[in-house]
Amino acid sequence: MNVLLLVIPIALGLGLLGLLAFLWALRSGQYDDLEGAEYRVLHDD
């Protein structure tokens, strides 16, 4: 069962990474315009 001591921190670390990425995206305004984002994808530039 020692493998748990390795696996659980890895799982938590990855989850934490996701959380931090989300919070960063939120702070940098990427969720401010959800409707616009779906159109911007289609722009050429």
Binding site: M1, L4, I8, A11, L12, G15, L16, G18, L19, F22, L23, L26, R27, Y31, D32, D33, L34, E35, G36, Y39, R40, L42, H43
Partner: protein, 771 residues
């Protein structure tokens, strides 16, 4: 509204303002709209009208980006706002941006930064962050909790189980401390105010669950409830975020409309200079110029000049009122023929506005006493849960189960009844229904609006601006096409509000080059050697025709046209009914609603409208007090009244009624008092809100009943000590999903009738003159 005898006074008042009247816009002071970042770069936001698709977004951003000094231009498609930042060296040039947008075909207005909207946005962000943390914690805790549940029936060693419990504690305790803050703060705020709000049982449940789980982990028990606590916060935060996002979106949209209505005033400085300022900058004592065709921006006393005012937004009275030096004028009145200088007064004693505000405050206090579903549910729920937990505790003690077991089961009751489903039952329905209404052009002002609309059985309309359109229209009849066309082309050069009716009736046209507005008289142009005149009857020598037109339609005002020495033509202009007013009234009657008109206007015009719409009950010439009295009498008789009105004089009635609705063109005070605002020329939103309200209320009740049944089933399980974390988790997520899925049904079409033009704001009443 043709007041030829005022012509001379107008010219006098006008002489010094000649330049102001010929120039379409003044050098505006835009510094209030520009915010400077710490690094020195300036930034401004604009509300943009007419953005409908991705191509608009691209056109605007591409069109503005190459402008000198502009560092970036980004359009937020969700709330139709454009953010422009300038480079550090560049001087922010707001007028250039507005001009560029004008070239691209969009109307825009700059926004004052800061204020309420930013606070709202910050609150939304805080809730979403809390939601993210709660979501992260509940996912990871589940990973460990499910292992424990599985391990408990297989071969997990007690050491591993304890380890898993402690890892859960490490994740959950900080996460719950952070993500639960909105609830903890709400509970404390409520307690300070001496009330037990829904936040209190939530806080109590979460804190007790966490404390109990830590104690259980310490004693190496088989169960801990960390997952339950954090999942509870996660689900409840979803409800909060939905609620907040809905409100913020509606508010952003309402702010755009307010900005686009361009509420500005022309300030006359002591040196005679003129400056265009936002309304907020007007202080009492300021001298402002109100040109023909403009609305009076603030209450005040006329200092100079005479004119006729259309006070229909203030009193409901459609006939023009003559004002001269020393008279009081109210914000919202439309200036007719003459320029006025007005000294702004602070609201002080015995004016109509003070009276209206006093009445409205009293009416609003009375209204807030009405309980809504969420409050009633809280009132039933809180004592029920706490009594249930206490009973469990006492019961187990009496049965000789010992302190530890009794406390454990009492806490289990608190956990399982924690209002997961209840926290979502009402906000989820509100969000979905408000979204559906938003697409039909209705903005909800108030969270309780839907429930109020559901209970309505009597609909009271104001006439002016509500049943009728806010802008005048050319009344029906046959006019010589050539005369109408020339008249409309002349009207394009006029600022008089009535000329807009001619322009609208004739369709697109070009103004005559060299057309001159002869102050207070009308417009004149020489075309092909023939002098064309448009204006008052005397100006056109058309007294006989005008008298005949008025005799045929006593409600109408007349605007006359004459080409050279030819036969003059008289165009009667009046406030037209909203295009679907008759169908809406018939629809309301078919639904069994009682329909009334309470108007401040003259009896003759109210009767004409009532007859055309088939409304039997109407009253005219009512003051704001009379309107309140009529509505209160109806409420006392057990009717639930929906008041639909737009005027300043309607504001107290809007506040007094059980539910209220205003067109978006309404006076400020009325907009603030109404539960919902609707856009556009159609009256159909009255039917939509009633249908949406009934549907939403039905779904809310279903959800509440579902939550109640769920609690009734779950409490015995918890009280008898059979609640394992697995059952708690299943019950919690299951009930939350069920009420959310049910709430989505509010999205289904709220009414069978064709949906009015989507949520694009309609332009405010066009004011004459494109010069």
């Amino acid at each position: 509204m043709c007041c030829t005898d005022m012509a001379l006074a107008y010219v006098e008042a006008h002489a010094s303002w000649g330049a102001a009247n010929t120039k379409p816009s003044l050098g505006r002071d835009h510094s209030a709209f520009v915010a400077v970042a710490p690094d020195g770069s300036a930034r401004a936001e604009f509300a943009v009208e007419g953005v409908r698709c991705a191509a608009c977004m691209k056109a605007i951003e591409r069109g503005l980006a190459p402008m000198p000094g502009v560092a970036s231009a980004r359009l937020n498609f969700s709330d139709r706002r454009l953010a422009v930042t300038w480079t550090r060296e560049a001087e922010p040039d707001v007028p250039a941006i507005l001009a560029a947008l004008e070239m691209l075909g969009y109307t825009a207005q700059p926004f004052a930064p800061g204020g309420l909207a930013d606070a709202e946005a910050a609150e939304t962000k805080r809730l979403i962050q809390a939601l993210a943390v709660a979501g992260f914690a509940s996912m990871n805790v589940m990973l460990l909790a499910i292992s424990v549940w599985a391990g408990n029936i297989s071969d997990m060693s007690p050491e591993n189980r304890d380890l898993f419990h402690w890892i859960q504690a490490v994740i959950v305790l900080p996460a719950a401390a952070y993500a639960g803050r909105p609830f903890y703060e709400g509970a404390v705020r409520g307690l300070r105010a001496g009330r037990v709000t829904m936040d209190f049982p939530i806080t109590l449940g979460v804190v007790l669950t966490l404390v109990m789980s830590v104690v259980e982990s310490l004693s190496g028990a088989t169960h801990a409830y960390f997952d339950g606590a954090v999942m509870l916060l996660f689900f409840l935060l979803i409800g909060r975020v939905l609620d907040q996002a809905m409100r913020q979106r509606t508010r952003a949209f309402a702010e755009n409309l307010a900005a686009l209505r361009c509420e500005r005033a022309t300030l006359a400085g002591p040196d005679g200079g003129l400056r265009d300022v936002p309304l907020a900058e007007l202080a009492p004592g300021a001298r402002i110029l109100v040109r023909p065709g403009e609305r009076v921006p603030a209450d005040g006393l006329v200092e100079n000049g005479t004119s006729d005012l259309d006070q229909s937004l203030v009193t409901g009275e459609t006939a023009a009122v003559a004002v001269r030096g020393g008279d009081r004028v109210f914000a919202g009145a439309l200036n007719g023929s003459g320029a006025l200088t007005v000294r702004v007064t602070a609201a002080a004693g015995a004016s109509l506005l003070d009276e209206v505000e006093g009445l409205m405050r009293r009416a609003l206090e009375a209204r807030s006493r009405a309980l809504v579903l969420a409050d009633r549910a809280t009132r039933l729920y809180v004592p029920f849960v706490h009594a249930g937990a206490a009973l469990t505790f006492v019961g187990w003690l009496a049965a000789g189960a010992g302190w530890h077991a009794a406390l454990l089961d009492a806490v289990a009751v608190l956990i399982v009844t924690c209002p997961c489903a209840l926290g979502l039952a009402i906000p989820a329905v509100q969000v979905v229904a408000a979204g559906a209404l938003f697409r039909e052009g209705v903005l909800l002002n108030d969270g309780t609006a839907l429930e109020r609309f559901a209970q309505v059985d009597t609909v009271v309309f104001d006439k002016t601006g509500t049943l009728t359109l806010p802008e005048p229209t050319l009344s029906g009849g046959r006019y010589a096409p050539a005369a109408l066309e020339s008249a409309a082309r002349l009207a394009l050069s006029s600022r008089h509000p009535m000329s807009a009716a001619l322009v609208a009736a004739a369709g697109p046209a070009e103004p005559f080059p060299g057309a001159q507005e002869a102050a207070g008289l009308g417009v004149r142009a020489v075309v092909g050697g023939v002098e064309l005149r448009l204006g008052s009857a005397r100006f056109c020598g058309a007294e006989a025709e005008a008298a005949a037109a008025v005799a045929a339609d006593p409600e109408a005002s007349v605007i006359c046209f004459r080409a050279g020495d030819g036969a003059p033509a008289a165009f009667p202009v009046r406030q037209g009914l909203r295009p679907d007013a008759a169908e809406v009234v018939a629809g309301l009657a078919a639904l069994g609603h009682r329909v009334l008109i309470l108007s401040g206007d003259r009896a003759a015009s109210v009767e004409a409208v009532a007859r055309r719409l088939g409304i039997a009950e109407w009253e005219a010439g009512l003051t704001p007090q009379d309107k309140i009295a009529r509505i209160e009498a109806l409420e006392r008789a057990g009717r639930r009244v929906l008041m639909v009105g737009d005027g300043l004089n309607d504001a107290p009635a809007l506040a007094a009624a059980h539910a209220s609705l205003s067109p978006v063109t309404a006076a400020h005070v009325s907009q603030a008092a109404a539960h919902a605002l609707f856009l556009g020329r159609s009256l159909a939103p009255v039917l939509s809100v009633l249908a949406a309200g009934r549907r939403a209320r039905r779904l809310m009740l279903q959800n509440l009943w579902f939550s109640a049944v769920y609690n009734v089933l779950a409490v015995p399980l918890a009280a008898t000590g059979c609640l394992t974390p697995l059952i708690a988790a299943l019950a919690m997520s299951g009930s939350s999903l069920a009420v959310t899925a049910n709430a989505l049904r509010a999205r289904l079409a709220t009414m069978p009738a064709p949906v009015p033009a989507a949520h694009r704001p309609t332009a405010p009443a066009p004011v004459a003159g494109t010069s």
